[in-house]
Symmetry: C2
Subunit: 145 residues, 2 copies
């Protein structure tokens, strides 16, 4: 029953990369402090942006299923990362996120028990939250074109 999602992309100069998701383009760059020109979010921000998207969508889907009167949903995320790993000192500190935190704010007359159920379902059903919290198998190779 698994679906396979595919995304491709290419380096387009400087530290800019253009990702292609079906007919959509998603651009990345780095701020000057990390060597880029700041024309787009950087990839770690892109990951947090996707987490925001996923938490929002799953909150709405679960609220609809349970007939919870959610009128507005806002999401805040933040993640701690030490750029020394990316810079090459990965024996000192991991290059990935050290921790990620999120807050989902819903507007609507929900009881405390509804909030608990909603949070629990969102955490379990959000593909991004689950992937980030538990990790996954990553296989990669590098070839000459």
């Amino acid at each position: 029953m698994a679906m396979t999602f595919k995304v491709t992309g290419k380096w387009v100069g400087g530290l800019r990369v253009e990702s292609k998701v079906r007919n959509f383009s998603v651009n990345f760059d780095e701020p000057p402090s990390l060597g880029g020109q700041d024309t787009a979010p950087n990839p770690v921000e892109g990951l947090l942006a996707a987490l925001v998207g996923c938490l929002g969508i799953v909150t709405v889907v679960v609220a609809r299923e349970k007939n919870l009167p959610v009128e507005e949903v806002e999401i805040e995320t933040e993640g701690d990362l030490d750029p020394r790993g990316f810079m090459g000192q990965y024996q000192v500190v991991r290059s990935g996120f050290l921790a990620i935190r999120f807050v989902v704010k819903v507007k609507g007359s929900l009881k405390e028990e509804d909030l608990q159920v909603l949070l629990e379902e969102v955490k379990r059903r959000c593909p991004l939250s689950d992937t980030l919290a538990c990790g996954t198998v990553v296989e990669g190779k590098l070839v000459t074109a």
Copy 2:
């Protein structure tokens, strides 16, 4: 030495979520098969797009450091995900990615040993690859606005 990256966002109707990364907007939706209107990538595609961006940037950064003659970089990623977890059957299958694969294709006259060094450095230094392979601490809460 850790930096904290922040991204916020809000539900904007249907299954559409608009993420805000500093002064950039990043939109998400779902295809009709998953309940949306397909106006933007979905969040799991967004995660793969960010992985593409990160692999591309790190490949270029490492190649420059090591004076490897990389002229072009293309990246292909794919990830397997069973949407039943997202739909609520998370006791049957995890909601996150079951596996992620990537291929980085570089154009340039590189020796086999250069490719091996480049791949090893990219895997270790790419913050997205490290986060996905190893997971991270995710803390979340849900509150009423």
